[in-house]
C-alpha cells in the first residue's frame, strides 16, 4: 500500500512530542505500569489529489443531481429508443386530479401507478415532478437549471479526467482500489460483516475492504463514465460527431433514461457511503479526507461504534 505512508505512533512514544489533540490522553508515566496492548496508529490515508478530487466531487454531484432533477421536471417522463412516444413512457411523474377533485402526484413505472403525493408529482400545492427542496434552483426554471448543470458537468468531467490520470500515474487505482484475488474470496464474509455492521479494525482498517473497493471501482469506472457518455448522447451536435453513441445506448431517449438511472445509482452510492462514514467513526473519516490523516486503533482499545 504505497499510498498509505505508515507512521506508527504508539501512545507511549507520543510523550513529549507535539501530537494532535485527538489522540486519547496517554497514561502519564510509562514506567509505572505494565504496558497494555494499547496502540493508536496514525496513517496518512488520502493524498492531496485524492482529497481535492473528492471534495470537488461532493460539490459537483450535489449540484449536478439537483439541477438535473430541475431539468427532468421540464418533461417529467422517460422513454426507451430514439423518440418520445408520449403514450409509452418507461417512467412518468405527473400531477393528476383525483375523482374527489383533490390533486395527487402519480408516479408511473412501466405502467404501474403509485401515489406519491407530497413528494413526487404534486408537492407543496404545486404540480411538479421533483419537489422544490430537491431541485436547483428551487423554483421551476429550466434555463437556470441547465446553466448550473452544464457548468458543473464541465467541472465534474475535468476533475474526473485529472483524477483518472493521477490514479493511473500514482498507481492509486491498482494498489488501493483494484480488488485482489484474496479480496474476492472474502466477499461472502465481507457481506456478512456488513450486514451485522461489523467493521474492520486494526490492520484491516488500514486498507479498503472488498465491498468498499467494488463500490468505488463501480462508481469510478462504470457509473461515472456512463453518466458522462449518456449525457453527451443527449447532445444533438455530439451525436453527429459520434453517431455510435446512439447505437450503444439504444437511442437518445434511452440514453436519457440511462442517465437518470446512473444518477440514482450515484444517489444510492452517496446514501450508503455517507452512512458508512457515520458508522465507522465520522470525525476520523472526515478528518482523513480533509487532512489525510486517519487513526487506526489496534486490538485492546475500546472501539465505539
Amino acid at each position: 500500500m504505497a499510498d498509505l505512508i505508515e507512521s506508527p505512533v504508539t501512545i507511549f512514544e507520543s510523550q513529549g512530542r507535539s501530537e494532535p489533540p485527538y489522540l486519547p490522553s496517554a497514561p502519564v508515566a510509562p514506567d509505572r505500569q505494565p504496558a497494555p496492548p494499547l496502540k493508536v496508529e496514525r496513517i496518512y490515508r488520502h493524498r492531496l489529489p485524492v482529497r481535492i478530487g473528492h471534495w470537488l466531487n461532493v460539490v459537483c454531484l450535489f449540484i449536478l443531481i439537483m439541477s438535473g432533477l430541475q431539468i427532468f421536471n421540464a418533461h417529467p417522463a422517460l422513454y426507451w429508443g430514439d423518440r418520445s412516444d408520449r403514450d409509452q413512457p418507461v417512467l412518468s411523474i405527473r400531477p393528476m386530479r383525483a375523482d374527489s377533485g383533490e390533486m395527487k402526484g402519480v408516479t408511473t413505472i412501466l405502467g404501474h401507478k403509485f401515489d406519491t403525493t407530497g413528494v413526487l408529482g404534486y408537492s407543496n400545492g404545486s404540480g411538479r415532478a421533483f419537489p422544490a427542496w430537491a431541485t436547483i434552483p428551487s423554483a421551476r426554471w429550466l434555463a437556470m437549471g441547465r446553466q448550473w448543470h452544464l457548468f458543473f458537468a464541465w467541472v465534474f468531467v475535468i476533475n474526473g479526467l485529472l483524477f483518472a490520470m493521477y490514479g493511473l500515474y500514482s498507481r492509486h487505482f491498482k494498489q488501493d482500489l483494484l480488488p485482489t484475488g484474496r479480496d474476492l474470496k472474502h466477499i461472502p464474509q465481507a457481506v456478512k460483516d456488513h450486514l451485522v455492521l461489523r467493521h474492520p479494525k486494526g490492520e484491516e482498517a488500514k486498507r479498503y475492504n472488498v465491498l468498499q473497493k467494488l463500490a468505488y471501482v463501480g462508481i469510478l469506472f462504470v457509473v461515472a463514465p456512463l453518466i458522462v457518455l449518456t449525457g453527451l448522447t443527449m447532445s444533438p451536435t455530439i451525436d453527429t460527431a459520434f453517431p455510435w453513441l446512439l447505437t450503444i445506448f439504444g437511442g437518445r431517449q434511452a440514453a436519457r433514461t440511462i442517465h437518470f438511472i446512473a444518477c440514482f445509482s450515484f444517489v444510492g452510492f452517496i446514501i450508503i457511503h455517507v452512512s458508512q462514514v457515520m458508522l465507522t467513526g465520522f470525525f476520523n473519516n472526515i478528518r482523513s479526507m480533509v487532512t489525510g490523516w486517519f487513526v487506526v486503533k489496534h486490538e485492546g482499545v475500546s472501539h465505539e461504534a
Partner: protein
C-alpha cells in the same frame, strides 16, 4: 447505554448532514439570484461551443431515420399560432403571398416568394428533433437548403450570424427571432422547410416556412420565418442575445 449514545450521535450527524444540504440549497438559490454568479455559470457555454466545434467535423451529418421511425404525433411547442391579423389573412390564402426577405450584410439583398422557394431543388430528411425540455420526436422535413439561398445573396465577409425574424409575437408583444452562425447555414441538413411528413407545414409547426438546424436543440428551429438578416453582432436586435429564448436565459449555442 453506549448503544443509545451512539444512536443519538448518529441521529445528530444525520440531522447535521440534512441541515447542511438545506443550507447549501438555499445558498444555491442566493447565487442564482445574485448579479455576478450566473455570469460565471454562463462561461460554460463558450467552452462547450469551442470543444463541440473542435470535435465535430463541419459537415458531420445528423442521423437520418427511416419512414418507420417517424413519430405518430409530432408535438408543437412554443408559439403554436402567431395570432396576428396579417398572419391569419396569409393563412386563409394558403400563404400564396408569403415571401422571405434576405438582407443585411449581403452583396445582393433579395425577396423570394414561397412559390419560388418551392421551385428550388429540395432536400428531404427524416431527422430527430430534440427539445430542450428533454423529449425527442422524429419527422420528415422537406425544404430548401439554406446554403443555396445564401449563395444567391452572397454574404459579406463580416457577416457572422444569420438572424431569422419570425411572424409570431408572444403574449407580451415581443417578436420571436432566432439566429445561427453563418458557417452553420451551409450545412447540407440546414434547410428552410415547408413540408412535414409529406404535408405542407401546418400552423402549429411553423407554416409556411421554418428553419431546420438539425444539429442543435428545438428552440433554435425558428417557425414562421419571414426574413433572414445577416449581421455582425446581435446589438439592437431583440434583447441582444441572438434569440427569443436566449433573451430569457437559454444558451445561444444549443448543441447540448
Amino acid at each position: 447505554m453506549k448503544h443509545e449514545r451512539a444512536m443519538k450521535r448518529r441521529g445528530f450527524l444525520k440531522g447535521t448532514v440534512g441541515a447542511a444540504s438545506l443550507m447549501a440549497l438555499a445558498g444555491c438559490d442566493n447565487l442564482t439570484q445574485s448579479t455576478w454568479f450566473p455570469g460565471i455559470l454562463n462561461k460554460a457555454e463558450k467552452l462547450t461551443e469551442r470543444v463541440q466545434r473542435a470535435v465535430t467535423p463541419a459537415n458531420a451529418m445528423a442521423k437520418e431515420y427511416g419512414e418507420a421511425d417517424i413519430s405518430a404525433l409530432f408535438p408543437a411547442n412554443g408559439n403554436t399560432d402567431p395570432g396576428t391579423q396579417d398572419y391569419h389573412e396569409m393563412a386563409r390564402s394558403n400563404f400564396s403571398g408569403w415571401d422571405v426577405t434576405i438582407d443585411g450584410l449581403v452583396t445582393t439583398p433579395m425577396m423570394v416568394s414561397l412559390a419560388a422557394i418551392k421551385e428550388m431543388p429540395a432536400r428531404t430528411q427524416i431527422t430527430r428533433h430534440d427539445c430542450v425540455e428533454g423529449w425527442s420526436a422524429i419527422g420528415k422535413w422537406t425544404g430548401v437548403p439554406l446554403g443555396d439561398l445564401l449563395r444567391k445573396v452572397q454574404p459579406l465577409p463580416n457577416a457572422k450570424y444569420a438572424v431569422f425574424h419570425c411572424a409570431d409575437v408572444d403574449d407580451e408583444g415581443i417578436s420571436y427571432y432566432e439566429s445561427m452562425a453563418v458557417a452553420d447555414c451551409y450545412h447540407p441538413q440546414t434547410i428552410l422547410a415547408y413540408e412535414l411528413n409529406g404535408q405542407p407545414l401546418d400552423v402549429p409547426h411553423g407554416a409556411p416556412l421554418r428553419l431546420r438546424f438539425e444539429r442543435q436543440l428545438g428552440y433554435k428551429q425558428a417557425k414562421y420565418v419571414e426574413r433572414v438578416e445577416l449581421v455582425e453582432s446581435f446589438e439592437g436586435i431583440g434583447g441582444g442575445k441572438g434569440g427569443y429564448w436566449e433573451d430569457q436565459g437559454y444558451e445561444w449555442y444549443a448543441g447540448i
